[in-house]
Amino acid sequence: MNRGAILVIARLTLREAFRRRLLWALVGLTLLLVAVTGWLFGKAAEVTPLEGGAQQLILSQLLVMIAFMFSFVLTMTAAFAASPAIGPEIENGLLLAVLARPVRRSDVLLGRWLGLALVVVAYALAAGYLELAVVRLMTGYLPIDPLVAPVYLAGETLILLTLALVFSTRIAPVASGSIAVVGFGLAWMGGIAGGIGDYLNNDTLRNAGTIAHLVLPSDTLWRGAMFALEPPPDVLAAAGSQARIFTVSPFFAGTPPPLPWLAWSAAWIVATLAIGILLLRRREL
């Protein structure tokens, strides 16, 4: 591994994101989204003052659904940015001149990943914290872990970014982007199946969720984001029986993801990048 070359490629990727106005488009859309949702939360707080746990749960569900939409936007951003990052540059010859320098193919893949990861992580954190600040301002609602929630979203995006980038070494951009987006949906549904399995004590559904989380751990991190956006336990306890209805919602997580699953998410990224390096090495230029 050549750290210097990786950093050069990462910096090149960042410059390209700025120069092609990808970031500016995201910033503009996010500001619009935050303004609209801020107004929505303001109206919701007017109608439903924050007096009890149930009201806080309603606001948290609204916030989680917005976060879900936001995570979808992040997934699409990662898929669009990563899927053309390697393959088309091989096909159009752009990488030939780069790889004729003292640069390994692994340097190109890791540099691309690092540059794109910085873009999506910075965007996820900035937009996430901005949204939480606006919600707090408009409604007074503060979830259980406002600092960690955007980190989980950024992690979820990294999983899908890695998936799209690795597929982009061998297949067409449209296909690799689609795989990332479909993977996002399947992992989410797998997680819901697992949650239902837990609730009904059904091993088949529970195992389906486990397998989904093993194959593509994006939902593990999404469930972490959901948990971090929910009200603190004492609020839930105060809501009593009113809170029970939310526990079967696909937008509710009763517990944060266990540490081994978080470790697996990190290991999954490393292992998938290693597979991507092997795939890229074996590709003919």
């Binding site: 092609r20 003292p102 003919e284």
Partner: protein
């Protein structure tokens, strides 16, 4: 099979460069032995054996699909050979450290369209590990050499194909490499551009830089190269020097009144009759006046003497067209020249 990407790695080169610097500097610019590349069942390169000396301009000729670009990719470590071996500037193929001393213009030249020409050159200065203080000078020199100084701050996506190829040539010349590999360097250029490239290659030769010129434009190659290898169907059909080609030139003489003109002329070269003309091939330098004098002294009436120079194109076509069986043999069996007498 070694992985295509990082074929040999830097460690071998470091060891080699560190312990035996002198063999590396003495070694030929390029030497390959039975280099073979297969894509599934398709043989792209049947077995390339050749040597390119330091400081020469070496032409690598062949028809489309002969395996020229595959060979270039193997030499640069962009692809791993299925079999065989080779060394470039004394180091194994694909050696990372050696790539610092190689400039490369790909046949499929493409550079970051969103960058300016100056930024592309700066990127390659960085990738080639050139010392940062040298960048401005290297970039300015390169831009001036390829005629892009006045477009240096324009985005590459606004460039014509010819300008992009000029930029690619500029990228290849950064850092004063010891070996410059040019893959069809004039494919997008107009006649003025082609003349510029010839001059650049001439200046590289004057500086002692080895140039590996991959082309199917024979007249271009003939003008600039010291030596050529002709490849077909994945193998070397012949290697020959340009001086040798010139030496093999002949003369056509229109002579009458001399029935045994052929026998007389046979003492000067390979003589044959072509209609009314007596054709003498491979005549030695400066011997044409003696030939004419000999014919006249035997009573012949000489009406016309026309120098006849064999062109590379004629040799190329005769090798690839007149001897298809030999060419195929070369392809199957690697670097056995179909016409051994053509070897220098």
């Amino acid at each position: 099979m070694a992985s295509a990407g990082d074929a040999s790695g830097a460690s071998g080169a470091a060891a080699q460069g560190g312990t035996m610097p002198s063999p590396a500097t003495q070694a030929p610019a390029i030497e390959t032995s039975e280099l073979r590349k297969q894509f599934g069942r398709i043989v792209a390169l049947a077995g390339l054996t050749m040597t390119v000396r330091r400081g020469e301009v070496f032409g690598f000729l062949g028809p489309n699909g002969a395996g020229k670009t595959t060979a270039v990719k193997l030499l640069l470590g962009l692809s791993a050979p299925t079999a065989g071996a080779g060394r470039v500037l004394g180091a194994p193929l694909g050696d990372l450290a050696t790539r610092q001393r190689i400039g490369y213009l790909p046949e499929l030249f493409r550079y970051q369209g969103w960058m300016t020409a100056r930024e592309v050159l700066a990127l390659h200065c960085e990738l080639a590990h050139l010392p940062r203080p040298s960048w401005p000078g290297e970039i300015a020199e390169s831009l001036a050499l390829v005629g892009l100084a006045d477009r240096s701050n324009d985005r590459v996506e606004t460039f014509s194909k010819g300008m992009a190829q000029r930029l690619g040539l500029g990228v290849a010349l950064l850092g004063k490499p010891d070996l410059v590999v040019l893959d069809e360097p004039t494919s997008a250029l107009d006649p003025v551009g082609r003349q510029d490239v010839r001059e650049i290659i001439g200046s590289l030769r004057a500086r002692g830089v080895t140039v590996f010129l991959n082309s199917h434009l024979l007249t271009e190659v003939e003008r600039v190269c010291d030596r050529v290898a002709i490849v077909d169907r994945g193998g070397v059909v012949a290697e020959l020097g340009m001086a040798e080609l010139v030496r093999e030139s002949g003369v056509r003489v229109l002579v009458t009144g001399l029935p045994d003109a052929g026998a007389i002329a046979g003492r000067f070269g390979q003589a044959r009759l072509d209609g009314e003309w007596l054709v003498v091939d491979s005549i030695a330098d400066g011997k044409v006046p003696a030939l004419v004098a000999e014919l006249v002294s035997h009573g012949g009436a000489v009406h016309a003497v026309v120098p006849e120079r064999h062109t590379l194109e004629e040799r190329f076509l005769s090798l690839l067209g007149a001897a298809p069986d030999e060419a195929a043999e070369g392809a199957r069996d690697v670097a056995v020249p179909a016409s051994p007498e053509l070897r220098p």
